[in-house]
């Protein structure tokens, strides 16, 4: 964990409200794990007063990249910053995704991103690729959900990593029309271990609608897939439900208002089965088994 002033390498607009900012932050880049975040001080003045949390979107050598959306005054000010200026950041913070269960022969990861939730997941996919580069059938399925086609992000990046990318939009302007969790349920329901080939069933497969209890029970003996997700609360709630229903290990990255980001203010609690936990320190990634339904 470092508190450093880092140089802005670039701050580019992507689409209407999205930006990618690159920072020269060798110390943070050297330690960062997928799922961790930084707290950025947007202004030297008192508006906004508190730092803002942002996931580490990618690590490129000595640089880190943040992918953000203009939400309010903080991100608005951030979007105006120019290359060459400096940004005060604290990081890397939080626990990061648990990658242990994704490793090993025949394993596969299903990454589910809702809207801006994609931010920490590109770094995750890159990491998963780099730890299992030699296992040919290690498959990463990426399910990207967004409201409209314009809001679908990082499709190319995931494809370049050899991920099997599926898209769902609310208005059907790109990919499947509906919620991304419906796509996830299809995959889970069609049997992720039943293929044996490491291939996922084609979406829209007839079995997709049948939730055969016996099939599910068989799968649950040896879950070969792991789900990683980040996105809006209702999506993560649904994933928590699906993970339990299909006996699949799942980790989700949560958001909560926070003042410090490193466990001092005790502001960012989330209710779990074991009482309150701090999103900044004990999260932001939680196993869904810990979360309340």
């Amino acid at each position: 964990m470092f508190c450093v002033k880092v140089k802005i390498i670039s701050n580019k607009k992507i689409g209407q409200k999205y930006f990618k900012i690159r920072l020269e932050a060798p110390k943070i880049a050297g330690e960062a794990l997928p799922g961790q975040f930084v707290m950025a001080r947007i202004s030297d003045d008192y508006e906004p007063l508190l730092r803002r949390p942002f996931s580490i979107h990618r690590v490129i050598g000595k640089e880190i990249e943040i992918f953000y959306e203009i939400k309010g005054k903080g991100t608005e000010i951030l979007s105006k910053k120019k290359a060459g200026e400096y940004l005060d950041v604290i990081g890397p913070l939080g626990n990061g995704f648990d990658l242990r269960r994704a490793k090993g022969e025949g394993r596969r990861a299903i990454i589910v991103a809702g809207g801006m939730g994609v931010a920490p997941l590109t770094f995750l996919a890159e990491k998963l690729r780099s730890i299992e580069p030699r296992i040919s059938n290690f498959e990463i399925a990426v399910l990207l959900g967004a409201r409209t086609k314009e809001q679908v992000s990082c499709e190319k990046e995931f494809k370049n990593l050899g991920c099997d990318v599926k898209i769902a939009t609310d208005d059907g302007s790109h990919g499947f029309k509906g919620r991304i969790t419906e796509l996830l349920e299809e995959i889970l329901a069609t049997g992720y271990t039943l293929t044996g080939t490491g291939r996922l069933y084609p979406y829209g497969h007839k079995q997709a609608t049948g939730k055969n209890k016996k099939q599910l029970a068989a799968c649950s003996l040896q879950p070969a897939a792991v789900v990683y997700a980040c996105g809006p609360k209702p999506m993560l709630k649904e994933i928590t439900r699906l993970a339990e229903c299909y006996h699949i290990p799942a980790w989700v990255s949560l958001e909560e208002y926070m003042a410090c980001g490193f466990g001092a203010c005790l502001g960012c609690v989330v209710q779990t089965k074991n009482g309150y936990k701090y999103v900044c320190k004990e999260g932001p990634v939680f196993n869904t088994e810990e979360l309340l339904p």
Binding site: Y46, L49, Y257, G263, A264, L266, C268, Y276
Partner: protein
């Protein structure tokens, strides 16, 4: 040139402390600052039994400030002594434990146990506005005053303040700092009550009771509905209160409220504060306490002040 000050029998190498609840249990900041350089560290408020705190959201930003409704979350005094104190003991700076209870006897018990554990000073948090009445009535004997819904704070009442400080005084030889709420009409008379009961110092202010509403959902932004306002937004009010209290009492006053820079700290000192506590600023700049100490040193040097004591209460009023 000296910037050392005393709070009763507690000697501080400089007048900059970190405020309760804004510095965790200190260890959280060890990667950011040389903890030994801080005048004194104050722990998060500790209670006899563990408390799980309030429902989220617990923090929300407001113009030049923030609201919090943490609800005194902590693991209880036993946990503090066993798990947190060993680290704090190794520091080469003064350690102050902040304590709170539901009644005078609880403060007394906490003061006794911390004294026995070798803690030299306690700050009595007489001002937590966040507790839900059913969780822990702060002054149970006042519950009959029905319109007050049992959530009045100890330091909103002279007698209650006197009673709690007195009870703690009987149980500890250590230094007692009484921390006051600003949600009162006349803070000087509460400070006086604390002095009369034997407090070595008073610290003020805690947060201002406040709220914030999301106009789209029409819901309060805090899970607890109301919370405490802190940060630069409160500084001018806090400063006025410290100035008033400092004129009324002889014991050292510690100024708290929205201190972000050395200049802010100096304002409080000139108004009459012997020392200051830095709160919310720690979240924004974890190194801020050290920067404020350096800034005070620079000021003292520039203005050729031989001892900071000459600056305390040196406000010029025609």
């Amino acid at each position: 040139m000296s910037i050392a000050v005393c709070l009763g029998g507690l000697k501080l190498k400089n007048p900059v402390l970190v405020a309760s609840g804004t510095f965790g249990y200190t260890e959280e900041f060890k990667g950011f600052v040389d903890l030994n350089k801080i005048g004194a560290v104050i722990s998060k408020t500790i209670t006899l039994e563990p408390r799980q705190g309030n429902a989220p959201p617990r923090v929300v930003e407001t113009p030049s400030g923030m609201l919090n409704s943490i609800g005194l979350e902590n693991d209880g005094v036993k946990h503090f002594i066993v798990e947190k104190l060993p680290f704090l003991r190794k520091l080469k700076t003064q350690v102050i434990a902040s304590i709170a209870g539901a009644r005078a006897a609880e403060y007394a018990e906490l003061a006794k146990r911390l004294d026995a554990a070798g803690v030299l000073a306690v700050e009595l948090n007489l001002s937590c506005p966040n507790l839900k009445s059913h969780q822990s009535p702060v002054i149970p004997w006042r519950a009959q005053a029905s319109h007050q819904k049992n959530n009045q704070l100890i330091s909103q009442d002279k007698k209650a303040t006197y009673g709690v400080v007195k009870a703690a005084r009987k149980m500890t030889k250590g230094v007692i700092i009484a921390k006051l709420t600003p949600n009162v009409t006349d803070i000087a008379e509460i400070a006086k009550a604390a002095e009369d009961a034997g407090a070595d110092s008073v610290s003020l202010v805690n947060t201002f009771l406040a709220m914030s509403i999301d106009v789209n959902s029409r819901r309060p932004k805090l899970g607890n509905i109301t919370g405490g306002l802190s940060g630069p937004a409160i500084k001018p009010i806090a400063l006025r209160m410290v100035w008033e209290a400092a004129q009324k009492v002889k014991i050292p006053v510690i100024g708290i409220g929205g201190i972000m820079t050395a200049e802010d700290a100096l304002e409080f000192i000139i108004a009459g504060a012997t020392a200051v506590e830095v709160g919310t600023a720690n979240f924004i700049n974890p190194r801020v306490s050290i920067e404020i100490i350096e800034g005070i040193k620079g000021y003292i040097r520039k203005h050729k002040i031989s001892n900071i004591k000459n600056l305390i209460g040196s406000i010029e009023i025609q």
